[in-house]
C-alpha cells in the first residue's frame, strides 16, 4: 500500500527557516508580543492601583501630624480638655432632663393640670436651674480660651495656606519662626489664664456640690427612679473624673512635639472621626473599624452555621432532585446586587425587626424594643444573606473533594452517615470550610451598599457596656464612610487622604484574608484519589 503521494525529500533546505514573517521576524513572535503586551498592560494597571492608593494615602500622615501639631501648639488641645469636661457635664444635664420629663409625664398621667404640675415641681425646677448654672463661671473662662486659641490657629492656618499658594516668602506673611512665636504667645496667654481657670473649676465643683445638697427629696415613680439612678451614677463618675482632670491639666505640656508614632496611633486607635468641625478634625479609624467588625460579627454568626449546614445538607443528605434545585438557587442568591439587598433592608427588613422587637411576647428581652430601625443587626442579617452563597459554594466544593474512598471505608465499618460526616468528611474538608468562612468574612467586610443603607451611619464606638444590645446600635463602617464622604471632599485635602488611608487599610485587610484562606487550602490540601 502506498501511503505517500509524493516523495518530498527531507533535506537541509526543507526544514530551513523560511522568510515567513515580517521584517525578518517570525509571525509567532509578533503574536507572542501582542499577548505579552496585553498582559503587561493588565499587570501594569493592577500594580498601578496599589501604587496610586499609596500615593494618595501616604501623604495623610505628615499632613495629619502637622495639623495635630498646630492643634497642640495653639493651645487648643489644652482647652480641649476643658471643653470635654464641659461636654460631659452637658450630657449629665441631659440625663437630669430625662428625669424631669419622666416626672412630668407621671404627673400629667395622673390627670393634673398645668398650674398644679408647675407648682408641684417648682423646687425640683429650681435645683435643676442651679445645677445647670453651676458650670457658668467655668464656661465663661473656657469660652474666652477657646476664642483666643481658635483665633490663633485660624490666623496661622490662613497664613500657611497663603504661603503655600503663592510659594514666595512675602513680607506680609509670617514665616515658620514667626508663626511659631505667634502660637507661643497665644499659648502663653492661656497659661496666664491658668489661675483663673483653676479658680473657675473649683467654683464649679463647689456650685455642683451645693446644687446637689439643695436637691429636694422626691417621691419618684419606678421609671423616673431608674433615670435618676443613672444620673446619680453618672454624677459620681463625673466627680471622680474631675479630680483626675486637675491632674491632667497640671501635667499637660504644650511644648511636647507630636511624634509620627502618635500620628499613626491617632489614626489606628483614635476614637473620633470628626470632619468639617469648627474646632478640630480628628481622623481615628477605630469607630469605623469597630462598626465594621460588629456588623461582620453579626453577619458571620448567621452565615457560618447556615452556610455550612446547608452545604452539608445539600452534599450529603438531600436527594438529587433537591440538590439540583437548591444548589443553583443558593448560588443564584450571590448574583443579587448588593444595592437591592440594601434596599430590601431599608424598605422592609429594618421595619420588620423593629416591629418585632415591639411585640409584647418579646418584652422580656433586655434591650427590646429597639429604637433605631437601621442598625448593625439589620445590616448584619442582610450581609449574612450575601455571605451564605460564598460560604455554601466553597464549603460544598470542599466536601465534594473528599475522596470517596474515605467515606466508603468508614461506612463499610458500620458507621452511620452522620458519624461518617462528622468524623471523616468534615475533618478532611475542614481546611476548605475554614477558607470558605474566611472568604465570606472578606466579602462581608468589604461590602458597601448594604452597610451604607442599613447600618444607621452613626459614627461612634459601640459601647460594650450595653452587652448584647450593642448589635442593635446604629454604627458606621469603613466602606460606608468612604462611600458617604468621598463625593464631598476636596481632592488633595487631609480628609481626602484620610479616606484613602481607610481604603488602604481595607485593601490590606482583604489581601490578608484572601492570602490566609489560600494558604490554608494549599497547606492542608488532601490528595483527592
Amino acid at each position: 500500500m502506498n501511503l505517500k503521494s509524493s516523495n518530498s525529500s527531507f533535506s537541509a533546505e526543507s526544514i530551513q527557516k523560511q522568510g515567513n514573517g515580517f521584517l525578518g521576524v517570525e509571525w509567532g513572535t509578533y503574536i507572542k508580543a501582542f499577548f505579552g503586551g496585553n498582559a503587561f498592560v493588565a499587570m501594569f494597571v493592577l500594580a498601578l492601583i496599589t501604587l496610586f492608593l499609596f500615593k494618595e494615602g501616604v501623604g495623610f500622615f505628615p499632613q495629619y501630624r502637622k495639623d495635630m501639631e498646630l492643634y497642640r501648639a495653639s493651645g487648643q488641645e489644652f482647652v480641649g480638655l476643658l471643653k470635654t469636661e464641659l461636654d460631659d457635664y452637658d450630657e449629665l444635664q441631659q440625663q437630669l432632663g430625662k428625669v424631669q420629663v419622666s416626672i412630668l409625664t407621671d404627673l400629667y398621667a395622673e390627670g393634673k393640670e398645668w398650674e398644679e404640675v408647675t407648682a408641684l415641681t417648682a423646687p425640683f425646677q429650681a435645683s435643676l436651674d442651679q445645677t445647670s448654672s453651676a458650670a457658668d463661671p467655668l464656661r465663661q473662662v473656657v469660652k474666652k480660651a477657646i476664642d483666643i486659641t481658635s483665633e490663633a490657629k485660624e490666623a496661622v492656618v490662613v497664613n500657611n495656606t497663603r504661603r503655600e499658594i503663592t510659594g514666595v516668602d512675602l513680607t506680609t506673611l509670617m514665616n515658620e519662626e514667626q508663626s511659631a512665636a505667634f502660637l507661643k504667645s497665644s499659648r502663653e496667654q492661656i497659661i496666664a489664664m491658668m489661675p483663673e481657670i483653676e479658680a473657675a473649676n473649683d467654683m464649679f465643683l463647689e456650685n455642683l456640690l451645693a446644687a446637689q445638697e439643695a436637691m429636694p427629696e422626691l417621691n419618684l415613680s419606678p421609671d423616673a427612679k431608674k433615670e435618676m439612678l443613672i444620673y446619680e451614677k453618672g454624677l459620681k463618675t463625673f466627680l471622680d473624673s474631675m479630680t483626675k482632670f486637675d491632674d491632667k491639666l497640671a501635667k499637660y505640656d504644650p511644648e511636647k512635639p507630636f511624634t509620627f508614632l502618635q500620628t499613626l496611633g491617632g489614626f489606628l486607635f483614635g476614637s473620633q472621626w470628626t470632619t468639617n468641625s469648627s474646632w478640630q478634625d480628628f481622623y481615628g479609624i477605630w469607630p469605623l473599624l469597630s462598626g465594621s467588625l460588629l456588623v461582620t460579627l453579626v453577619a458571620l454568626s448567621f452565615a457560618i452555621p447556615f452556610g455550612v449546614f446547608a452545604a452539608v445538607y445539600v452534599n450529603q443528605v438531600a436527594s438529587s432532585s433537591e440538590q439540583n434545585i437548591i444548589k443553583p438557587y443558593i448560588e443564584f442568591i450571590s448574583a443579587i446586587p448588593s444595592v437591592v439587598i440594601g434596599f430590601f433592608g431599608v424598605a422592609i427588613f429594618g421595619t420588620f425587626i423593629r416591629t418585632l422587637s415591639e411585640q409584647d411576647f418579646l418584652a422580656w428581652v433586655p434591650f427590646f424594643p429597639i429604637s433605631e430601625r437601621l442598625n448593625a443587626y439589620t445590616a448584619g442579617c442582610l450581609l449574612a444573606l450575601m455571605a451564605v452563597p460564598t460560604i455554601f459554594t466553597l464549603a460544598e466544593d470542599a466536601l465534594n473533594n473528599v475522596p470517596k474512598a474515605f467515606t466508603e471505608a468508614s461506612e463499610a465499618m458500620g458507621a452511620t452517615r452522620w458519624q461518617t460526616i462528622w468524623r471523616i468528611q468534615i475533618p478532611s474538608s475542614l481546611s476548605g470550610i475554614i477558607s470558605a468562612v474566611l472568604l465570606g468574612f472578606g466579602r462581608v467586610i468589604g461590602e458597601t451598599m448594604v452597610v451604607l443603607l442599613c447600618a444607621g451611619n452613626q459614627i461612634a464606638v459601640p459601647e460594650l457596656s450595653k452587652g448584647l444590645g450593642i448589635v442593635f446600635e446604629p454604627v458606621h463602617t469603613m466602606t460606608g464612610i468612604i462611600a458617604q464622604e468621598m463625593g464631598e471632599v476636596v481632592p488633595g485635602s487631609i480628609h481626602y487622604r484620610a479616606l484613602f488611608c481607610v481604603g488602604i487599610f481595607l485593601f490590606f485587610l482583604s489581601l490578608l484574608i484572601n492570602y490566609i484562606a489560600q494558604a490554608i487550602v494549599r497547606r492542608y490540601k488532601i490528595s483527592a484519589g
Partner: protein
Amino acid sequence: MSNESISVAAPQSTRPASDTSAAKTLIEVDNLDFYYGKKQALCDINLEIPEKLVTAFIGPSGCGKSTLLRCFNRMNDLVDVAHIGSGSIKIHGVDINSKNVDVIELRKRVGMVFQKSNPFPKSIYENITYGLKIRGIKKKSYLDEVVERSLRGAALWDEVKDRLHDSALGMSGGQQQRLCIARAIAVEPEIILMDEPCSALDPIATAQIEELIDELKTDFTIVIVTHNMQQATRVSDKTAFFYLGKLIEYDDTARLFSNPDNKQTEDYITGRFG
C-alpha cells in the same frame, strides 16, 4: 489478516527479517547529553537509526526512552527546564537543533503518536484533516482522498467509514490510538515516532497496531518505545536498550534478543532485572 497476527504469540519474530545492514542511516545521534534543569536524563547517547525500518527503544521505566524520542521532533521544547547539554541529533545530516531549523517544518516531517491516545474532541474526519488544514489545504476532494487513504493505512477504514463525522471521542481506546496514527500519517511525514502506542490497549487492538506498523514500514521510518519484549521482537528490526539514561546496547533485534553482548541487557530481557 488480523487472525493471523493474533495467533502469533511466540517470542520469536515470525516474519522475515529486513535487511538491516543495507539500510541508509536516517537519524544520527552523536554524544547527546540531555538535561531537565540540573538533572541529567540522557548521557552520551550515540545512535544511528536506519531508514524505512522499525527501531525499538526498550528499557526500564524512567531510563529516558521518551526523552530521546521527543528529542527527535523537539517536543521537549515545550518543557521549559529541558535543554540539550552537548552533542547533536542529525536527520538526513541536518542538525535539527541548529538555529535556522524551523521546528514547525521539522515536526511536519517527524510525526508522533503518544502513549495516551489524544484525539481532538472533533469528528474523525476533522481529526485526520487537521494536519492538512493547518497547512492551508482546503480542497475537499483531496481531503476526502487523504482521509480514506490514511484510515485504510491505519486499518480503521472499514470500522469508521460510516461515521466519519461522529466525534472521535466516541471510539474505543484501540480505535482512538489507530486514529492518532492515521492522523500522523495523513500529513505524510518521513518518520513516525511512537511512544508506547499499545500500553493502554487489549491484545487484539495491540495486534492490529503491530500489524499496522509492519505495513507502514514500507513508507515510513518508525521509532517505537515499548515495554513489551515480545512486541519489540515482533515489530522491530533494530532495538536499543537504555538504562539510567545511557544506551547500553544497540543491535539488530534478532541478535539483541538471542545473544546480547551485555549482562544488563540479558537480565532485563529475560526478566531477571532488579
